[in-house]
Symmetry: C3
Amino acid sequence: MDKIGIEEMIRSLSTLRTEKMYLKDFFHTWKHSDDEIRATFEVAEILRGMRENNISSRVFDSGLAISLFRDNSTRTRFSFASACNLLGLEVQDLDEGKSQIAHGETVRETANMISFMADVIGIRDDMYIGKGHTYMKTVAQAVEDGHYDGVLEQRPTLVNLQCDIDHPTQSMADALHVINEFGGVENLKGKKLAMTWAYSPSYGKPLSVPQGIIGLFTRFGMDVVLAHPEGYNVMPEMEGVAAKNAQKSGGSFSKVNSMAEAFKDADIVYPKSWAPFSVMEERTKIVETGDQQALKELEKRCLAQNAQFIDWECTEELMSTTREGKALYLHCLPADISGVSCEKGEVAASVFDRYRDPLYKQASFKPYIIAAMIFLAKFRNPSEKLLDLLTDARKRIY
Amino acid sequence: MDKIGIEEMIRSLSTLRTEKMYLKDFFHTWKHSDDEIRATFEVAEILRGMRENNISSRVFDSGLAISLFRDNSTRTRFSFASACNLLGLEVQDLDEGKSQIAHGETVRETANMISFMADVIGIRDDMYIGKGHTYMKTVAQAVEDGHYDGVLEQRPTLVNLQCDIDHPTQSMADALHVINEFGGVENLKGKKLAMTWAYSPSYGKPLSVPQGIIGLFTRFGMDVVLAHPEGYNVMPEMEGVAAKNAQKSGGSFSKVNSMAEAFKDADIVYPKSWAPFSVMEERTKIVETGDQQALKELEKRCLAQNAQFIDWECTEELMSTTREGKALYLHCLPADISGVSCEKGEVAASVFDRYRDPLYKQASFKPYIIAAMIFLAKFRNPSEKLLDLLTDARKRIY
Amino acid sequence: MDKIGIEEMIRSLSTLRTEKMYLKDFFHTWKHSDDEIRATFEVAEILRGMRENNISSRVFDSGLAISLFRDNSTRTRFSFASACNLLGLEVQDLDEGKSQIAHGETVRETANMISFMADVIGIRDDMYIGKGHTYMKTVAQAVEDGHYDGVLEQRPTLVNLQCDIDHPTQSMADALHVINEFGGVENLKGKKLAMTWAYSPSYGKPLSVPQGIIGLFTRFGMDVVLAHPEGYNVMPEMEGVAAKNAQKSGGSFSKVNSMAEAFKDADIVYPKSWAPFSVMEERTKIVETGDQQALKELEKRCLAQNAQFIDWECTEELMSTTREGKALYLHCLPADISGVSCEKGEVAASVFDRYRDPLYKQASFKPYIIAAMIFLAKFRNPSEKLLDLLTDARKRIY
């Protein structure tokens, strides 16, 4: 995208209503209007375009972005760091210890103590059903109160870097990738996306990716199919969100218990392992009791159950049944690749290999999506600000 | 504070003598003149005012600030990171391992090796009596020599983020909070402050907070009362500093062995646990021998001794005996709150709850105090530099 | 160096051909032309001069530098952080876990995932023969491919912060120190440098320092002598590089099995412990099998072997046999100092003490060397860019 293209996209952005994002958080895509979702895509593209044209989008002369990862993460950590650095914010990690499930008052105090000069807080807390989003809301309320009470000079914006319910920076990056591959969001209408469970030799993978995908892609008039073995349900509320979105957008949302059926004539496939919602609930309860023995037994039982569905693998044969045998293969990475990272996994090595470049491109949108979420929360009139940056054209590399 | 207010405060600052702070360190408040203490408060307020008016106070285009925490710390770490970021310095952590007590030559070499491009070094080393300040002096001497010998292009400024003797960034932030609450430092004259020991279910909390408080607040013409059970003495030298300050400032410094007596008609109360000086000395000797058994026995003995004073708690009843029942409650946080963070602790939950906002505000001054200490060490003519920043009015957020 | 001096050095730089460094990596000094080596020295000196004159050399308005240390490191970590900060890059650490020996596909994926906004990647991987450099090449190829395939907007530059073969940021910093001590690279012609093994109570120190030194200093027309006990050979290929360089530069490269012989009339001595190449090979194989018992036996055997050469120590007596008894003593630090950091080590305490300042100065060049390597990889016309910076004369400290 050249400067003319960037300027055009800024004009398009100026027609969208984003004022409700100003000084607010980004938790779940379905809490945001179509304008807001579209604006996030456009700001991401504009920031990417500016960077490719060596135009600085550093809008903070100083400022802190706090990262709080309650789970190991290299990719999301680097995406967040990249996004913040692009805008001029310095990342400071808050390391609370992974295993802790913090309580109300402590969270409130800590949230204020770290936020005196914080412009952004990015949180990843995806491990326990009923916990992650609740924790983020507690932090958000704490800094809201802190700002109201005059403790905090500014109210930091929260960005959900993955919770137990949604993974908006992932699904939005995935969507922006798809939009680019299909040449525009309008071209997604009527396309079939198969979000399907796949076998993995591990258990307990979060639900936030499949939930985030069905919750977002149903907005684009697509035929979204959720496929999984019986019992591997996602949260019922999320199926409701998907159904409602589909109805509104003129698409469809359906469920099947067969990977083959989901793949049939699909334009896009997203085969990925997750743990059943009921197992995630059970696990959370066990973790709260601290019963290591029960945790081991749960794992053993779940792995045995998973083993029944070892044929839920994204093979060449299955891929050949998709639209012209050329469906776009998506994954949030890292994938469990059969014969590479494990004996049997989510995807055949040859399929994964063939889609390596698109997969890496898919991931490349995440830093820009995060930066866009921050940008839209920090500027009441984002298009004006972006036009200023484009006009100034300060070089990123001198 | 608006721009006019900031400009007025800069003019006030310009009348103070701060040239001896230039290129020097900040170790103990009592090593600094009244002008220097006042200048630190004023620069902190000015930097805060500028930030609130979206004026950048980034005075370093590049530069490193090294943090060296020989003890876990979230709050001080974030305060230091915030202060450095506000001025344009990037924090780089030096992680030497907590348990090590480093020796002279190693310290000298390491201090030089990390300082080739360091503008600031912030150190927290509060655990062992006779060690923390000594360590900081060793580092300061090493970089002084390094600069003199042409090894270091610049001499980094040291900021004491808590040692075994003083905790100047805490006591100065506390004081600035009190000054704001009472509407000016001149209003502190004749006010009664009770720095009092309080019960905690742990042992071994550092002495630097009570010592820092009696060492600083006695400068403002206040009646400072230090209260603790018999035997829970602070360092004798520090009582001397407090007495001398009080005499000079026209206030008073006294000691009592009753929390009730200290609270009576107090304008400000600071109930907080600490370990007796003699115990801290004993513990340091044991740690040096590495005798884990002896350490456990010491802990057991001290906890048993503490248990005798479980009624040293800041209750509603005690609070009602303070001036109009409305003394300002201070704490450096986190507090041991009865029935919340422990069964019985330093303060009743209802008291703590009532003072939550002021407590958070108290903490909010620390980043600005640290930034002010750095600023005064880096600019020979701080008021001129601040006036330049105000005139330029470069935006912090674009 | 004043501004006139800086400008003169920039003019000198403009006569050197560096276009092949543009957008490339820095792995081994011997892969670079004489012009490129000289340009690296000059850019380092220019950046140092500019910093000393409070002129900012921040050429990145935003940007990430990724550090990947597969081994503990304080000094190199700080040198890299300093260099990056000087240029405006923010360091983000990638912590993969020290013990892992990562495999091809994982490396490729991770390299891309962290590089979407990375301008530089600094890697230290020196522990295992045949691994470190191979790993760096894999990363370099991955980001090369990523850039070619449109995944990465820019191709990050790799800087070798120490591999199993070379330690170019060390040897280049050492050389720049020597050049400064001797008043110019032209004065090194005919000077004798003794790179000699020395006793240490540990085993397994990397070969990259002695190899880097003989691979670089032989380029300056010097008489480079490599001394070690029989069997403590470095990699044969590296002796070949040294011999070839010496022939080309009009100097010499020779090997002796006596520390005394090497020191005789030497102008520069570099006594330092390392493990024999054959031991390093054996150790790598054992580590790959994970046989802890075999690893312990190897250590025991090697320490016993080392003990036979406990008299390979840089003593006052040996120093007195050097040119006028005044050879320049070099070490990459930290040194094993007899009676200080160990009972018997590489160097006598009095020798080390006498050379403390020069040793610290030696180390002080490393951040500038790293910054120069990055600078030359990022600008096609480095002298023009440096002249712009000098002319702008933006202040580093406001």
